[in-house]
């Protein structure tokens, strides 16, 4: 997983059916010190993250497990998902 900051949202009308119902947020990835790196990730959101909030983003099967936990979720169309909203970091 990586840390990042929610900076916006993306909307698409023409999309794969598997994306229906997913909220897609733009997350600016942070480096180890929490500074933005200029990389942007489009991550699916189930936690109602708001712009400006710090989050952790899971990739790969970890991201699919956010949307639908279980071994048979390879058909979930998601490769990045917000796993937690960060309240503090040391």
């Amino acid at each position: 997983m990586i840390r990042g900051t929610v900076v916006g949202q993306v909307w698409a009308t023409r999309k794969a059916r598997g994306l229906d119902g997913q909220t897609l947020l733009l997350v600016a990835a942070c480096d180890a010190e929490g500074r933005a790196t200029g990389r942007l990730v489009v991550a699916s959101d189930t936690l109602d993250a708001r712009a400006g909030e710090d989050v952790t983003v899971a990739f790969g099967s970890g991201a699919r497990n956010v949307l639908r936990p279980g071994p048979e979720n390879r058909d979930v169309l998601c490769d990045a998902a917000i796993a937690a909203i960060v309240e503090g970091a040391g």
Partner: protein
């Protein structure tokens, strides 16, 4: 997933049998995208009939294979959606260090997102 813009299409007569019907687009990612191999582009299959100049959402890895037709597909990137609108939070731009990087990253999609 990443945001990118469709900058072209590739055609191949000789290709894997499972890719016979796939449309292959060349995508230039917005923002910084550094995969293990040092290129600044991706080739992705397309299910949503995106065209050159469209801003798109590209999914990588297993979900891209699922979208392209199954887990045995020789694919690792798929266009899943054509972006209508991008909303960037002005507050988020004030995150220390975020502004220049994000603004630079979104110079291109800002134009498409504004419609």
């Amino acid at each position: 997933m990443i945001l990118g813009r469709v900058i072209g299409q590739v055609w191949a007569a000789r290709r894997d049998a499972r890719l016979q019907r796939a449309k292959l687009l060349v995508i230039k990612p917005h923002a910084i995208y550094e995969p293990a191999f040092a290129t600044r582009h991706l080739v992705a299959t397309d299910d949503v009939d995106a065209g050159v100049g469209d801003d798109v959402i590209v999914c990588l890895g297993a979900p891209a294979r699922a979208s392209a037709g199954g887990n045995d597909m020789p694919v690792d990137a798929a266009v899943l959606g054509v972006v209508d609108r991008i909303e960037l939070s002005p507050d988020a731009m004030l995150v220390p260090g975020a502004g220049p990087g994000i603004k630079r990253a979104l110079t291109l999609p800002a134009a498409a997102g504004a419609k």
